[in-house]
Every structure is written in C-alpha cells, then in structure tokens.
C-alpha cells in the first residue's frame, strides 16, 4: 500500500475484496452483489471453496467462460455469462429467494451508499430522480446469516458513508453485521460501530474523522493487513 498523504492511505477495491474473502469459510453458501462485491470470489484463500448462489437460479456457478463460448441462458444476476462447477443445481426464482429469505445463505456481500450504526443499509437509490431499480438487494439484506458490506470508507468527495442514520432511501433496516472499508473492518453490534481492524497508518482519530457516527472499541484493534494486489 502507498505511504504518502493520508488521503492516499487506503486499500484498493481489490484489497477490500481480498479482506472480506478471508472471512468466508470453506463450503460456505455465498451471494455476492452485482459489481464490486463479485470481486470477492477471486480472493478465496487456498484450500477453501465457497459455493456461490445467484438470484436467477444457480448454486455453485464458476468462472466466466472464454469469450465466444458464452451460453446466454447460463448467466448470473449481473447478466454476465458464467460456467458451472460439479455439483451445481438449477432452480426457479421462488426457490432461489427461499434460499435467501429463509436464511440458508451463510454470507451475502453487498455494496453501499450509506451504512448506519443501527445496521440500516442504503444501496439502491440516491434520490428520487431517474428510474428506480431495486433488483434483489432488499431480499438479500434479510435472511443470510451474515450480511457484509464492502465499500470505500468515504464518498468520492470525502463525505462519510458510515453514518448515524442513512439519508438515502433505505434498502433494509438493522440488517448489516459487518463493514469492510478501504480503511477498517467494523462490526455493527447493538446499534454501534465497533472497530475490529484498521490500517496501521491510520489513527483512531483519523478514522473517527472520516466516519459519521461514533466508533467504539470492544477488544484490541488489530492491524488491517492485506497483500499488494
């Protein structure tokens, strides 16, 4: 990681995804949100293999096929072509969301516009303009045993994304259990942000200044260490 100005001290998206991937157990059933969260699949630790679920009815899909080899009936929720691993299964949308809503997934990982200290998530809409689209986000935040967010710690213009209360339209209430940011790993527990790990080069004061709600500590804060990627 770079060691320049404080503004440059942060994890890349790949590094955030890598860190989140370390917390997924072998054999876990996992749903990765469209876009950035999909990157988590690349960084499974050696010897572990999660089973990935996609809302449109596949368990245990694999890598994208080579270009030109796509079967457009074999896609993921992001509508990108995928392949199958041995042991894959197809099912319809109601069964797929039974897996989600019924609490059968071990982990769901989503992006965020804002996460509140209460665990509320806003990640589907920034305002009231344009065409609203929600997809499966409101379903995914309920039911998975753990719902993680991966995100930059602040917005492009430096505003906190971890806040006391979301100002953007909510995706779900009290649903997020952990946030992996560009600067820290933060649990949400009893309506509070609890810092578990942070970059060594970032002080608690710096981190608090970037955060829109009080940070708490429940145990020694561990250095957030990730490889160059």
């Amino acid at each position: 990681m770079s060691t320049g100005d404080i503004d440059d001290i942060k994890l890349s998206n790949a590094q955030i995804a890598w860190r989140a991937a370390q917390d997924i157990e072998d054999g876990a059933y996992v749903n990765l949100g469209i876009g950035f969260p999909e990157m988590v699949a690349r960084y499974q630790p050696p010897g572990r293999r999660a089973i990935f679920h996609t809302e449109n009815g596949i368990l245990d899909f694999g890598e994208p096929p080579a270009s030109g080899e796509e079967d457009w009936d074999l896609i993921n929720a992001g509508k990108r072509a995928v392949t199958l691993n041995p042991g894959a299964a197809f099912f319809h949308h109601a069964d797929s969301f039974a897996m989600v809503r019924g609490g059968h997934l071990d982990v769901a990982i989503l992006g965020a516009y804002q996460v509140a200290q209460t665990g509320d998530l806003a990640n589907w809409r920034v305002g009231s303009k344009g065409v609203p689209a929600v997809g499966g986000a409101m379903d995914l935040v309920h039911g998975a045993k753990q719902v993680f967010v991966i995100t930059e710690h602040v917005t492009k213009d430096g505003k906190p994304k971890l806040v006391e209360a979301c100002t953007f339209p909510l995706t779900g209430v009290a649903c997020i259990t952990r946030v992996y940011t560009s600067h820290a790993v933060i649990d949400i527990s009893d309506g509070r942000f609890v810092v578990r790990e942070k970059l060594a080069a970032v002080s608690m004061e710096d981190l608090q200044a970037m955060t829109g709600a009080p940070l708490h500590v429940a145990a020694p804060v561990v250095d957030l260490v990730v490889p160059e990627l």
Binding site: T54, E55, N56, G57, I58, E70, D71, W72, D73, L74, I75, K79, F90, F91, H92, H93, A94, S96, F97, V100, R101, D120, G130, V131, P132, A133, V134, G135, G136, A137, M138, D139, H142, G143, P169, L170, T171, G172, V173
Partner: protein, 235 residues
Amino acid sequence: MDKTVSSTADAVKDIGDGATIMIGGFGGSGAPIELIHALIDKGPTGLTVINNNAGNGRIGIAAMIDAGMVRKMICSFPRSSDPRAFTDRYLAGEIDLELVPQGTLAERIRAGGAGIPAFYTPTAYGTELAEGKPIAEFDGRHYVQERWLKADFAIVKAHLGDRHGNLTYNKAGRNFNPLMCMAAAITIAQVSRIVAPGEIDPEHVITPGIFVNRVTEVAQPQQEEELIRAGVSYA
C-alpha cells in the same frame, strides 16, 4: 388432449387490449423472444407487463414499449444494459411502474399460482417500497404483507414440451418461467422441441402440464443478448 399450437401467431391471437401479461425470462435468459415478437405483430395496447426487467435494446419487451403497447410495468429492475425504451417513456410520464423487490416479485407470482392471496415477508420492511402496506410482527420481528400477482396470460420460454404441456427449461433460463406458468389464466409456452408424452422423464418435468395451455415449437430460438449485441431492432 393436444395443447400444441402450430405457430407463435396462433398462440397469442387472443391476447387483447388491456391484458395483464407475465413474460418469463431474466434479461435475455429464458426470454420468449419469438412469442413477444408475435405479440407485437398482433399489436394489443394498454398492456400491463410483469417481468423482472423492462426490456433492453430495441427487441423483446423493449420493442413492445417502443410500439406503445405497454401501459404499466411490474418489475424489479427496469434499468439493465440498454433500457432506453422504458427509460424514455417513464421519464416522459407515459408508462407506469410498480417496482417490486425481486424475491417478493417471485413470491407474489408463486402465491398467485398457489392460491395464497397474501403473505408476510421481511423484505422491504422500513423502506419506501413498503409504504402503504400492512405491517405485522411475528416472533418479535416486523414483516410486510404482500399480495398475490395473477395475470390473464403468461408467455414463457421452455426447452422441451409435450402435447400435455409438460415442460423442461434450459439452465438458468428457468428463472421466473415456471412460476408464471402457475399464475396466469392462460399460459403459452414456446419450446425448442415438442416431444411425445412420456419422452420427458416424470422425474424431470419442471412444469407439469396442468399449468400450461398452449405449446408451440420454435426450433432455433433467438437469444436476446445476441440480438442486442448485433444491434437488431424489431419494429
């Protein structure tokens, strides 16, 4: 009993103005493009269309919207790779939108097919998509009451079909199709191949024929994604 119909045009010929139509598929996967295009040729207007998305490019549901046939979309994600057709009409106030979370959409359709008029789900509780809906608490947690969805017609894409209406699907092309078969008064399936009853192993039937009214063969079905990449317009 013979539910086979000789052409896509015949299969959709009684879909009239103002109908509510469920259209299977998730994006282009499992989307019944030939049936949709046959419906465009017939040209009913004032339709309510239920689909996960709201059309892409200038084909399929997007072409229905371009043709001015659609009054309202009920969907979860009307903003896919190239949603111009819907976006333009929506921003111009020319088309209504009922936005439904994807899992709730699936469950509402299943409920329509299963005779369940309402159910409770945690999804959307506390969000603007639950506004105006009854809320109830069970075991200390809040849930939103959602109502069933039914349709006058469902048009779906399947893989194999027999003349009793038994269907299989191709891979993730299954998605909403089996649910929509259950929830419509008249279900119309295009299949890649019509086979004799018994050729589909009873263990492998995904949609039993009781949910299907018409089966028509489209031997080499088009794939929405490929049409969009080729810049095809159906008009």
